[in-house]
Symmetry: C2
Subunit: 209 residues, 2 copies
């Protein structure tokens, strides 16, 4: 903390938790703008107004930093898409998908790194992405079933749809088309079709929806 | 080739390509039965009836061997699901999904390693899985559109469905339920729902299906 400091941010005295949160915020900005390999550790430290040594104190490697940023982003997406609890089910699902796609559009490189980029194979990144999908599936099943236990086929189908939503989002961010509203309506309609498929399949094979 | 040989397989004189194919066949068997970490290099050599040294000549590491086995399996799945060209479209899709699920059921550990296991993060394994999905999407679009160019929304939707098919298959293999026929009908109905969603979304937003 005694080295030369050039940026105003550095003069602020922050608690360990505040500093960590600020670093994660800087990471979300940087990894949203550019791909993982194009972000330099020096730049992270500079933008946060701290020394490289202090950054390493919080995050020993760039990969550790990226994993923490991905976790923080996944938590943020989770909170965003949890809103709107008082609306009718269809509208809640629509809002949830819309918020997810807006967030992805605002952080394209962050999503692409986690889904397809150089760290997409990292075990912790994969676990974070998988947890996010499981949470999304649980939330959709709550909207659909409330307190009732969802059937195994419906649970499998909705889990499958979260993989579709992720793949479609990554492909959309990479291709930069079609418009977000088109992707949103496609995912929403495909979810409705998947739910119908689960009910029809359950009825046909198991005699119960 | 001059060391002590204990198994009949070793006495056969095979060309380099034949030996490689035999090793891949042994790999498919072993990786189908057990997870990647539970298969030992010694066992691969023993079952193929060759020395460990000769195995290393073909595949320098266990990971290299696994990657080659995964590629061979992906090609095999690709050929299997390409059959039945003379049937009506709906029946071709149904057969394709059924073949895919039968293959997965016969090679559960192989699929789970590639989709979720210790090598699921490996860049080459991920590329092989991704190629398989792209090939699957292309084939479905050919069944649906023939020589006509599919619209961007339909292509995006079908690509998304291949991610659903993969996630549902992995979850099914891990949970060991429901029955294969249930999973097949779920995936087929969900594909129909996804195609309808793509057409409705295209018509609503772009004025053309």
């Amino acid at each position: 903390m005694s080295g030369p400091e050039h940026r105003p941010g550095a003069r602020r005295r922050l608690s360990v938790d505040e500093r960590r949160d600020e670093l994660l915020r800087v990471g979300m900005e940087l990894f949203s703008e550019r791909s993982y390999d194009d972000v330099w550790v020096e730049e992270i430290a500079e933008r946060a107004g701290i020394s490289r040594g202090l950054l390493y104190h919080y995050f020993p490697t760039k990969r550790d930093f990226y994993v923490a940023v991905t976790r923080a982003a996944a938590a943020e997406v989770g909170e965003l898409t949890a809103q709107a609890g008082s609306l009718p089910p269809a509208e809640r699902l629509r809002r949830g998908i819309d918020e997810y796609l807006r967030y992805a559009e605002a952080h394209p490189h962050g999503f692409l790194t986690a889904y397809r980029g150089s760290l997409a194979g990292d075990a912790e990144v994969r676990a974070t992405v998988e947890e996010g999908r499981r949470r999304q599936a649980t939330r959709i099943l709550e909207v659909l079933c409330g307190d009732r236990e969802p059937g195994a086929v419906l649970a499998l189908a909705v889990y499958g749809w979260t993989a579709m939503a992720q793949a479609v989002t990554a492909e959309w961010l990479a291709l930069r088309e079609p418009r977000r509203e088109v992707v949103r309506d496609l995912l929403l309609d495909a979810l409705a079709g998947t739910i119908r498929a689960a009910r029809d399949t359950s009825t046909a094979h198991l005699g119960a929806p």
